[in-house]
Amino acid sequence: MIASRNIGFVAAAATLLAAAPLSSIFQQWTWLIQSAIAVAVVAGAAALTRLVRAPLWGQVLGMLAGLLLALTWLFPGGGELIAFLPTPATLAHFGELAQGSLQDMRSYGVKVPDTTPLLFISVLGVGSVAVVVDVLAVGLRRPALAGLPMLAIYSVPVAVYVDSVPALPFVVGAAGYLWLLVTDNVDRVRRFGRRFTGEGRDVDVWESSPLAAAGRRLAVVGVALAVVLPLAVPGMTGGLLDQFNTAGNGTGNGTGRPGQGGGPGRIDLFASLSGQLNQSEVADMVKVTTTEQNPFYLRFGVADELRPDGFRVRPPNGRPVNRELPDPSGRTGPGVEQRTYRATVEINRTLSMPFVPLYTDPVSFDGLNGNWSYDQNLGVVFSNRDNSRSKRYSFEYVRSTFTPAALRRARPLPAEHPIRLQQTRTPEVREVSLLVSRLVEGKSTDYDRVRAIYDYFSRENGFSYSLSTKGGTSGQEIVDFLTNKVGYCQQYAAALAWLVREAGIPARVAFGFTNGSSTNGDTYTLTNRNLHAWTEVYFDQFGWVPFDATPAYGVQGANRSAWAPDSDAPDPEPSDTAAPAAPQDPGATTGPQRDEAADKDTDAGFDPTTGAPVERAPTWPWWTVGALLAVAALLAVPALRRRALRRQRHHLPTPVAAGPAPDDGAGGSIPMTVLGVDAERARADAHAAWDELLDTLVDYRVRIDRTETPRATAERLAREAVGEDAGSATAVRLLGRAEERARYARDPLTGEPLHPALRTVRDSLAARADRRTRFLAAVLPPSVLLRWRTSLGDTSARLVTASGRLRRLLLRWNPRRLLATRRA
């Protein structure tokens, strides 16, 4: 009874440990406390029922009742008796909680906050698993099976996180499972009497039992395989899909793999941007049709968390797009013009990420299911489950345009405003601070300050566009950019955002597509080259207002707005930029930009090393063909080896005078020496022929008997294998005679046609073998395989012997052994 109580305790603890993966889902640890209470109650109920020697079903009922009580106490609905006795009202409350949990699961992304429904469903799940584990481990004494319900808990984060799941909680859970197994086994062994560990009995202390040694070896082999196998198998690390850079957990380095629909909070959009812009190939990604004339950029992502190492994407948070979307009409005011347009987006199958691109301020969506959520703050549509591949959807959106005058009226945000608090946080970089204070000196409004900084990134100040700079938005890289004044959209957008933040105005970096260069009416086809980043600045009352500081000549389909005109626009052609009052300035740079496109292509094509999803399609057939070829080559090795062996035996001594030595033997001493040489040669020849015969026998699955003499083998073959063919019988007897003479006689048999005999025997063996044997003998000769197997076995035996010797040597210095002898 003590033992089973012990196992019951271990089962409960193992269940809790196995619940560790839930930590990667919840923000807080409340779930752990509540689950621990539930599991403890379940374990207590189990122990009590076992104490009264209840049958198994009684134990199950007891545990379920305990779980119910614990749930009632933890999640009171208000109608309980003395706080923990459930009533029908409680059950109804539980039903509501369960439904609410479904709701919450849809609406929250990881990590979820502590909502009661989610906690309820977690505690219910962990408690049920505790019941099942207890029944399996203690009631049925099958603790190995208890791993299945434990695995069920682990499957929750696996289902939520689509790609990378933190490994540590799983290790904790596995440790709990192993603990359970070990406890049960120790208990089993204990039933036979005292456990024998070998201590102090001069038993080999390193390996107290052969079972343990075997286990250790298996573990080592398993770990080695687990490490080596993914390295050996191509594609298992998703190497082709890595263009959005490597996976990490959460916000560590802020990268992810949208190629497989990774979580939207873990993507380094900067890295993907530079990777895509540097692609040598151009691939269509998005086709968008809009009713708006020359719309501003299509937008899908935002990086608004500034850390010392640069701008990072935060996990978005929002409500499903098929619910009501926030009304953007609050941005209206004098100087603000809002119009509603409708756009249809068609995403190519090569673009796969957890965001979908859209124009700012969508009002309604059509064609996106409840998996997609809209983050009001970031203005992005994301999904934790789905990805954007081959999506087609349409939406209505409100386009707000501003006049500089209106923006100038915007008051500075109060210092305690949450957006200001969060979005102006900048790491301390002295050069940037100096530059900003110099730029904004004397400017009175936020808009003027922003314009001052924005205008600083102009050709006049020596800024130019090049894709060949190294990416990165950390403090030092911003300083480098400000010094070198060469960069592309990534640096321009990040530097502008950084500087604006430094000036105390909230700013962030937005990602999306420019309007591109291939326009067909109101349809824009956007490629990877059109990926772009720009800056958004927050103005009170107006919200986020886009500024694109990147030189327009470097960007295909750049769009400049009235409040952020092209700072590089040449003075002789002021028609576009000189009209700041115009509410919307169409296509400022589409004209000159076309000319630059050719240059940009060559410029952009310099670094094709970064992999991209758009390149995925053409590579896999090569991999397949290569793998097939490799397999074929590998399969051909035994046959080639067999062929080489045969040829080598055939041409073994290259006899100078094949037969004449015995004939010429009549004269003098010179032929005698020739005879000696010839005898050796004939002996080697006979041996080679005999070896070849044996190999042929193995190939054609004719029995080889090691206890048979060559003569007996030849007789047996003549009798059984080669059949009634008299020629083959003679041939095989000849081979046997040659071999026995070569082995046992003073003088070997010379001048006999061994190779023709061999061929005769082989032909007659092949004729009598069935088709499968013949095929195998030709393709995968069993003789070669056998030989390899034998040599492998020999090698491993040698290794084992050597390691055993080494071990014995080391064991001399084993301190535990010295202790053991002293105690004895």
């Binding site: 041996h687 070896d691 080889i704 048979e708 003499t709 006689a745």
Partner: protein, 352 residues
């Protein structure tokens, strides 16, 4: 008669002469013993291997006839001893008697002083008498009253015996059995051979008409030729393996002696020579293992209870023992030979 020690044999016979001489002897014996060519050749092989022959079988199958036919085919001195329960050792070896004329003891040679000694029904004499043969069979000498007398070459004891289960027989001591090179069983003749025997033996005893076709000198040269037969290292190794296997076989209480190894190889040489070869094959050893080894070994009580005869045990060993690989040239299908000393023997060592 010149005393010739057993080491001094004549020159080597050429191949065809050897063949003619040996074939003549075999053909001569076959006039008497029909349908038993293999047995006859084996008997001749034992003679050429300078060994002694034990013919064991039930009464009436021609044991004595074979012995006498072999003796008569060779023109040399032949003595016959009929072993009876009251035979004394001195009857076998000889005795010193007092000569009144010379006033001295004079040695009267016993029956063993001959080239061929036919010991009939050897297991009917007491072990005491049988022991008289020990010295002469192995050392080819007789010591009486402190004087050692050398025997002649060839010297061969052909003994016949009934199986020990028969009435009135004493089992041969191990030492005695070990001195016999081979034990052969006559076996019943086939139906045709028995018919022929009825024809041939009906009128007169063919043994009486048997004329010698060879003489002691020829036999000595035959022996010299046999000694010259080539034995490859692998064959020697195989002989050693075979004998070692009998010592390690779990079914056997006593394995074969080193003398057995020696005699096995000698007999194999003779058999090879009789087959016209000048080299010994493992096949020869395989064929000779039962006649040469089976009568020397003692099975365990378990094997005896299981009615496993020593013949069967040896035959099984031969079937299970792998050929030794050529040392210079491993083929890949050979059994790896255990390293000297620490390797596991092919058979579990017998527990005392």
């Amino acid at each position: 008669m010149t005393q010739q020690t057993w080491d001094e044999v004549g020159g080597v016979l050429p191949h065809d002469e050897f063949r003619a001489a040996s074939e003549a002897v075999v053909a001569n014996i076959e006039q008497v013993i029909e349908g038993k060519t293999a047995t006859v050749r084996l008997a001749l092989a034992v003679l050429l291997a300078e060994g002694h022959l034990l013919i064991e079988d039930v009464p009436g199958v021609g044991k004595t006839k074979l012995a006498k036919a072999l003796a008569r085919s060779i023109d040399c001195s032949v003595r016959r001893i009929q072993f009876t329960p009251d035979l004394l050792p001195s009857d076998v070896t000889g005795v010193s008697v007092y000569n009144q004329e010379t006033h001295d003891f004079e040695f009267r040679p016993g029956a063993v002083f001959a080239n061929l000694v036919v010991g009939d029904e050897i297991n009917r004499a007491s072990p005491k008498t049988q022991s008289a043969l020990l010295e002469c069979m192995e050392e080819r000498q007789v010591t009486v009253d402190g004087v050692t007398y050398q025997l002649q070459t060839p010297f061969m004891v052909i003994a016949t015996q009934n199986p020990i289960e028969m009435e009135g027989t004493y089992p041969l001591p191990e030492a005695q059995r070990d001195r016999f090179t081979a034990r052969i069983a006559m076996g019943y003749p086939g139906p045709e051979a028995e018919l022929a025997m009825l024809d041939g033996h009906g009128a007169a005893d063919p043994l009486q008409e048997l004329r010698p076709v060879s003489d002691a000198d020829t036999v000595r040269r035959l022996i010299a030729t046999v000694r010259n037969v080539h034995v490859a290292d692998a064959v020697k190794q195989y002989a050693v393996d075979l004998v070692t296997a009998t010592r390690e076989a779990p079914d056997l209480r006593l394995g074969a002696s080193p003398r057995a190894t020696l005699q096995l190889l000698r007999t194999a040489r003779a058999v090879a020579a009789l087959e016209g070869r000048d080299y010994v094959l493992p096949d020869d050893l395989q064929a000779l293992a039962v006649p040469v080894l089976a009568h020397r070994i003692i099975p365990t009580a378990d094997a005896q209870l299981a009615r496993r005869t020593t013949d069967a045990i040896v035959a099984e060993l031969v079937h299970r023992l792998a050929l030794p690989p050529d040392r210079k040239r491993p083929t890949g299908y050979d059994t790896p030979r255990p390293a000297a000393g620490n390797g596991r023997p092919p058979f579990e060592p017998r527990r005392p």
